[in-house]
């Protein structure tokens, strides 16, 4: 580990490529295992009238397992990938999460109060939090985007979007 200096001149700390590779390969291995497991349950053999339902997926699952095992082996025992490489630096991860976490809340918001209200709130929040815009401007833009979307989908194209489990828009008849 110490003999490979100079590979990265600027040292960023973060999640290493190695760790990320292992996590992804293990997840894929697990998924492959699930596919094989369910294919065996369904039957993966050739019976009198043709292949059973699990025949094709069984091999697919098997290939996923084999491919991810090899990748895992290459990461664990191969010499090609240095431990120094950073998959994502903490600084970068913070930025990525600052998009991802609000996005998850946005989707939760859709589930509860529908796309239109959630979108207005999400855009406004994002602008204030990351863009440092003032509240009034952000809220106005959020609402404007929502209204345009509403006009486009509900009125022009007549494609109703999800209004949420509590549907606050029912008070205006939608």
């Amino acid at each position: 580990m110490e003999d490979k200096q100079g590979s990265g001149d600027v040292v960023h700390s973060g999640i290493s490529v190695r760790a990320a590779e292992i996590v992804v390969a293990v997840i894929l291995l697990g998924l492959g295992g699930l596919v094989v497991y369910d294919s065996v349950r369904l039957g993966f053999r050739w019976v009198g009238d043709g292949p059973e339902a699990g025949y094709f997926p069984f091999y697919i699952g098997l290939f996923i397992c084999i491919a991810s095992l090899i990748t895992l082996g290459q990461v664990l025992f191969g010499k090609t990938r240095g431990d120094h490489q950073v998959f994502v630096a903490w600084e970068q991860l913070k930025l990525v999460l600052s998009v991802l976490v609000p996005a998850a809340f946005f989707v939760l918001g859709i589930q509860l109060v529908g796309i239109y209200l959630a979108a207005a709130a999400y855009i406004a929040f994002f602008m204030v939090w990351l863009g440092k815009y003032n509240w009034i401007k952000s809220v106005l833009l959020g609402i404007a985007v929502s209204i345009v979307t509403f006009m486009m989908f509900e009125i022009w194209f007549k494609v109703p979007l999800f209004k949420g489990e509590f549907n606050p828009l029912s008070i205006i008849g939608y």
């Binding site: 990320a20 596919v35 369904l42 339902a53 996923i64 991810s68 970068q92 979108a119 994002f126």
Partner: protein, 499 residues
Amino acid sequence: MEEINALFHGFSVALTPFNLLLMFIGVTLGVLIGVLPGLGGANGIAILLPLTFAMPPTSAVIMLSCIYWGALFGGAITSILFNIPGEPWSVATTFDGYPMAQQGKAGEALTTAFTSSFIGAFFAVVMITFLAPLVAKFALKFGPPEFFAVFFLTFCSFIGMGKEPPFKIVAAMMLGFALAAVGIDTVTGQLRLIFGWHELMRGFDFLIAVIGLFGIGEILLSMEEGLSFSGRTAKINMRIVIETWKKLPRFWLTSLRSCIIGCWMGITPGGATPASFMSYGIAKRMSPDGAKFGTGMAEGVIAPETAAHAAGTAALLPMISLGIPGSPTAAVLLGGLLIWGLQPGPLLFVEQKDFVWGLIASMYLGNIAGLIIVLTCVPLFAAILRVPFSIIAPVIIVICAIGAYTVHNAMLDIWLMLLFGVAGYAFKKLAYPLAPLVLALVLGDQAESAFRQAMLMSQGDVSIFFSNGLVSSIMGLGLLMLVWPFISRLKASMRKNAA
């Protein structure tokens, strides 16, 4: 001659005022999509697909394919003015395009890029016009074993031609097949891989995967780089365009070579991105000015742009003639065919003449419309990029969420989109390719049913895939592609030992 007649019939189908309007709307939307980070050809079309359900199929496919042309054009704008490739296939365009813009020749660079794109696309469309009917006629003789062999070849090509580690390509591809298998088995009616979760009965729709993997994944990636746009301004007027056009014929050889590389890479599912890099590399090696590449040579813009567009267009050939798409975007268009009630495959040329030839004619017209729009509206599109990322990012995520929801009107799909977004981010960073995953998800059911039918024909004997000259040569080619990474590694190590 038959093709020419059919093509003129196609023009009469495509040239209605309504379709022309859709063409211009499509190209404009497409350029927008190409310019904005997080929205690209594949997911842009996926998001807009549900809006076309009510349109006649021909008009719908014209609009959607024009979005595709627009997206191909749009990628060049950000590459040249901002040094940010709007699309992966325009990465190579930044090498010489951005230096040109820095030297104050942005207008010239853009004109060169757009004209090259147009030439590349045009070459590919001419090829499609004459080759697609032949391929389709030939493919009418195909039975299930031959179709499975073509699927096999398609997927093996990803392994043989991909730059990523081969086992990662296999893993990504097989994951796509596994996701495609989720839900009701079409043959036995059994529920597969849902583990008692009945909302999964519908299976995973590839449109959701495309929106998540490409859209959300791309936003997360751009966020990481902490995007701050600082671009050059461009002026394009008629004088610059004509002066640039006067210079271009000198590079006819580079153009032609790039067209051929692009067509080849587009039909075999290598795709536009490797085509653009390959073409740039070869032009650099062959040109007398090769050493000056990277400092703002027009030739360095011509080569990747021509090849990328030729590849992007040629990817539609296997889609319309065999029902097998050559790129994720072609796959989304193919999904559209199914939704509009058309069965993709060689029969399309027999049963849906209006549709096929209308589409082919619209490729000619759409590219002309595209060239006009990009040459006249560059400042407008460049202005969009000056909207701060903190406004664009949430708006794009909202658009993606709406797109994901409208596919099946299912809330679960929005959550899945988010999950695919995270997966897309990780996959991209770890060099797991997304294109084979998406294509496997689209073609999984068809590949499986071709496989099962073939196996039924032979009562479970695998040798049916080598039972006649045609099927065994396609399978043989596929197997060669499959082992290609190992052969080339072996060759490389032998060369190293010899040296």
